[in-house]
Amino acid sequence: MTTGASISVGLVRDAFAQALFALRENKTRTALSVLGIAVGIVAVIILGVVTKGVREKVFAEIESYGLQSFWIYRNQNVADPNADVRRGSGIDNDDLEAIRLGCCPAVKHVSPRVYFTEWNVLARAGNRFTRILLEGVDAPFLEISKDELDDGRNFRPTDIEQRRPVAIVGSNVQKQLFPERSSAVGQSFRYEDMKFTIIGVLKEKNREFLKSIGAAETYNINDHVMIPYTLHQQMLASKDVHTMAGEAVDKASIQTAAEQVVDLLNRHHFGRYQYTTETMEAWSATADRILTNISLVGVIAASISLLVGGIGIMNIMTTSVVERTREIGIRKAIGAQKHDILTQFLMESVFISTIGGIIGLVVGMALAYGLTVWSKLDVMPSFLVISIALLVSMGVGVASGYYPARRAASLQPVQALRHD
């Protein structure tokens, strides 16, 4: 009575008994090799979950600035002998009007951005002062930059047309100027001799990642103060628009939308200026590259600890083969084939490494849980990470057990039986 299933059942049971025996007989030795793998797997899991958590956080932050958005402004760095002759920003209200009338079909909407050369200015309310980033925009700007109102309202067409002194302020501005109020809406502040009434307050934006890759502390989106661009142009006595902020109709047409706008600008200004286009998509790709490189370093570190764990198993298995030479001789004499012996020792090392993997998994999950509670990032390992960790630990068992197992399998029965 022979069945295909019994092949594995018999050998698995036998190898299982072997491995349990090895665990019991050589407790310290086995425990240390199990530990080696466990440490490696903990490293893999922590790496996996931290990378995942950080990546999600970073992309959430980047997306909060609008993935479909683009910004176009005059490239001031071009070596241009006529730079002084061709003054100005290269964008003006006529361009804005043309886009609004639908000349760029891939563009959903645009907003001008008008600001001072030094746009970090001082604002005052009563006896409190704070630094603000003052800029003139149009109503669609909130949607383009994915800003949300915490309280109050957006600009209305009349605010823009009549150049009303109204402002939408960032969360820091409210905190600095009106710390005792739950909302600054309806309050006013002064910039030089002008008085602005606050009509809206923005929700706070997370900028930890941008800060971490070197965004200037002086450019904090939460210090933003937005006023009608028409009013800002009046303050500057100019029709210039410094940056054209826009949003494409969908993610696939960001480049097309930006190209359509640049084409329009070139036609209107007879190609006198060169323009730079920035998209969040490009920033997102940069962040992706940075994070991938960071993960790569982590992968190398985790691999080294797994490699060391694997060498530990290889060591214990080689010793075990030498110690059990006579037993291997007995098994071969009574009819074990090469692959029987190979399977037995491979399963033993896989068993040890899988135990290590499971312990590593449990410890890693506990650490990930602690990290989740502590950092408030969701870093619990996914099913994929868990499966990869287990497969990797099994793989290490196969890789490190293969050489000793092959040695065992190729022993000559006569010589092996003579071994004491």
Binding site: A5, L11, F21, R326, G335, L417
Partner: protein, 224 residues
């Protein structure tokens, strides 16, 4: 069915080749009980290893059941040992951490016998050698004679045609040795071919035919 023709075997030790068997030609018919005797170092164990397919000749041919053993791969030899040959050793060669039952089950694991049939057959084999009360004992808990009975049960469990025994009584006292020989006599009566190395004349006396090995050459002894 055991046919050796001009078989030679030498070993190289310390760059010095020593011939162990020279031009051995030998026939052992089915069902014969053969004892091999000779001084130590005469080559009798090497001859037994060749017959038991544990080793292959350097030159000459070995036919077993009409198959050319001398041209087989290691795995094919394992297969022959698994199906056709049962081994009994002087030092028993049981696996110390396995119970008596598990030791006897081992050849059937390699023969892919399903677990239920394996246990049943191992129990029956242990009953046949008189150890049905010791199934769960480990070798270290048993006497030499009992250990050798386990080894005999293990040798018989895949129902081989040939039993190869290397001084099966060498580690036992005289009384126990004769008890083991009674088992051999029963195996012989059941139709097994037995090839046994021994240096004790009273043990060799259980065989039908005696071969003397000296300086690598085989000669017929007294046929009773």
């Amino acid at each position: 069915m055991i046919q050796l023709r001009r078989v030679s075997k030498s070993y190289t030790a310390f760059a010095h080749a020593s011939v162990v068997l020279r031009d051995v030609t030998l026939d052992i018919p089915t069902g014969q009980f053969v004892a091999i005797m000779g001084p130590s170092g005469s080559g009798k164990s090497t001859l037994l290893n060749l017959i038991g397919c544990l080793d292959t000749p350097d030159s000459g041919t070995y036919e077993l059941f009409g198959q050319h053993v001398d041209q087989m791969s290691e795995d094919q030899l394992s297969m022959i040992r698994l199906r056709r040959i049962g081994f009994v050793f002087q030092s028993f060669n049981l696996i110390p951490r396995y119970t008596a039952l598990h030791n006897v089950e081992l050849p059937m694991i390699y023969a892919r016998v399903d677990p239920a049939a394996r246990t049943r057959r191992a129990q029956r084999a242990l009953e046949l050698v008189g150890l049905s009360q010791k199934l769960a004992h480990k070798p270290s808990q048993l006497s030499g004679g009992q250990q050798q009975r386990i080894a005999i049960a293990r040798a018989l469990v895949n129902d081989p045609a040939i039993i190869v025994a290397d001084e099966p009584t060498g580690s036992l006292d005289s009384t126990t040795g004769h008890e083991i020989m009674h088992l051999f006599r029963r195996m012989h009566a059941a139709g097994k071919t037995i090839v046994m190395v021994t240096h004790e004349a009273d043990i060799a006396a259980y065989a039908q035919r005696i071969l003397y090995v000296k300086d690598g050459r085989v000669s017929e002894g007294v046929l009773r």
